[in-house]
């Protein structure tokens, strides 16, 4: 299996452990989530004053978000709010920490690895490299970057976007007295760490400062409330689409079927092509919210089924 559903997890009272593995040996870490097969993980790492690491690279894509403190990384000084995306094989400069720092460190492909090197690996996909201070170098934008969209009062700073999967990493904030009255789920996994503030979801209750979740696809979350404001770091593992609804009791299987039903209605050609390979639901998958949608004329027309006097056309045949 991949990473389990970890939600909510408030890590502040959990102890740090010595980091004895390649990666950031000599620091201290706690695991926020871990893929039990690949070793991909999200860690919170504490670098004590005097920490040093030689230049080197990892065999995994790595993301780092500096929560507090500062560190010298090669010729750059990273301060709180610094975000870096290091494509696998990126040689990061020598690290020196004078006063101490804490960071979220994410290995996206495997357990932590480290090879001492001052040169990038020849196969590195260097164009994907990002290094920026998210607090100072990126503007807040409306959270309505996708549609259907979140309610006004949720804003994001886009830090990294993967054009292949449309996965993205971002800062987000919720304004004081934020509210959104719907239940959401996505096709993607979603991850968040609360840098400051408390927000509330109808399933899980309060998520305070230091609160974290790794949520696999199709799991209900929301409605949403935030009383005093929240600042958080978030990521998805692929494109994020907001499937909103108002049935509190659906499970991930039902939600996934509903998502497939959306495809059936909205992308009929694609759906038919996909379904032709042994996953055939000739009348569309069940949709807990609109169980009779298959009777709708427009849906039947899209799928070449008889409507009125029309005999329909052979299923899947292109016009």
């Amino acid at each position: 299996m991949a990473r389990p559903h970890i939600e909510p997890y408030v890590e502040l009272d959990s102890p740090y452990k010595k980091f004895n593995l390649g990666g950031f040996k000599g620091s201290h870490y706690k695991v926020l989530s871990l893929d039990t097969d690949t070793g991909a993980c999200t860690l919170k790492v504490r670098f004590d004053g005097g920490y040093r690491r030689k230049p080197g690279l990892s065999y995994s894509d790595v993301e780092i978000f500096l929560l507090n403190g500062s560190m010298q990384v090669g010729k750059e000084t990273w301060r709180e709010g610094h975000y870096a995306f290091l494509p696998a094989g990126t040689a990061l400069g020598a690290i020196r920490v004078a006063q101490g720092a804490e960071a979220l460190v994410m290995y996206n492909d495997s357990e932590p690895t480290f090879v001492e090197s001052d040169r990038h690996h020849p196969l590195v996909l260097g164009d994907a490299f990002v290094s920026m201070n998210s607090y100072e170098d990126a503007p807040w934008a409306s959270g309505s970057v996708v549609s259907p969209s979140v309610a006004t009062g949720c804003m994001i700073k886009l830090l990294r976007f993967d054009p292949i999967t449309e996965a993205f990493s971002f800062l987000y904030c919720l304004a004081p007295r934020y509210g959104q009255d719907n239940i959401s789920y996505h096709d993607c996994a979603e991850e968040s760490y609360h840098i400051w503030g408390t927000s509330w979801m109808m399933q899980f209750g309060d998520l305070p400062t230091g609160g974290y979740f790794w949520r696999p696809p199709y799991i209900n979350h929301g409605s949403f409330r935030c009383t005093y404001g929240t600042l958080a770091f978030g990521r998805t593992d692929s494109v994020l689409y907001n499937y909103f609804h108002y049935n509190p009791w659906t499970n991930p299987d039902e939600n996934q079927l509903r998502a497939a039903a959306f495809q059936y209605r909205k992308r009929p050609q694609l759906y038919n092509w996909v379904a032709s390979d042994g996953h055939n639901h000739p009348h569309g998958p069940p949709d807990f919210e609109t169980p009779d949608y298959g009777d709708e004329a427009q849906v039947r027309l899209l799928h070449g089924q008889p409507v009125g006097g029309s005999p329909g056309r052979r299923r899947g045949k292109r016009r």
């Binding site: 939600e7 593995l21 690895t113 009255d181 049935n247 509190p248």
Partner: protein
């Protein structure tokens, strides 16, 4: 298929195996604790759900952004028969 740096990762050594074993075991415990904690929230969650179902019939349901739709009483979903607990962690 083009090779990627990830493809060249050496096999996991003993120290990494031990690291995985230790942290997978701890994560299992953490997961169990989360499930227990969330199950204990059950009675409170029922009140939250009741409040939500009331709000979407009065103030409305956020269809997208700030666009709301008042949900009619006949559209309100019913708790599935036989559902003993409302599972939220999967």
């Amino acid at each position: 298929m083009a090779k990627r740096v990830q493809d060249l990762k050496p096999a996991r050594k003993a120290d990494a195996q031990a690291w995985m074993k230790e942290n997978v075991a701890e994560q299992k415990k953490r997961y169990a604790a989360i499930v227990k904690e969330q199950e204990e929230l059950g009675p409170e969650r029922e009140k939250w759900v009741a409040g939500f179902l009331k709000i979407i019939q009065t103030k409305g349901f956020n269809v997208t952004g700030d666009v709301r739709r008042i949900i009619k009483p006949g559209e309100i979903p019913k708790k599935p028969k036989g559902m003993k607990k409302h599972q939220v962690v999967f």
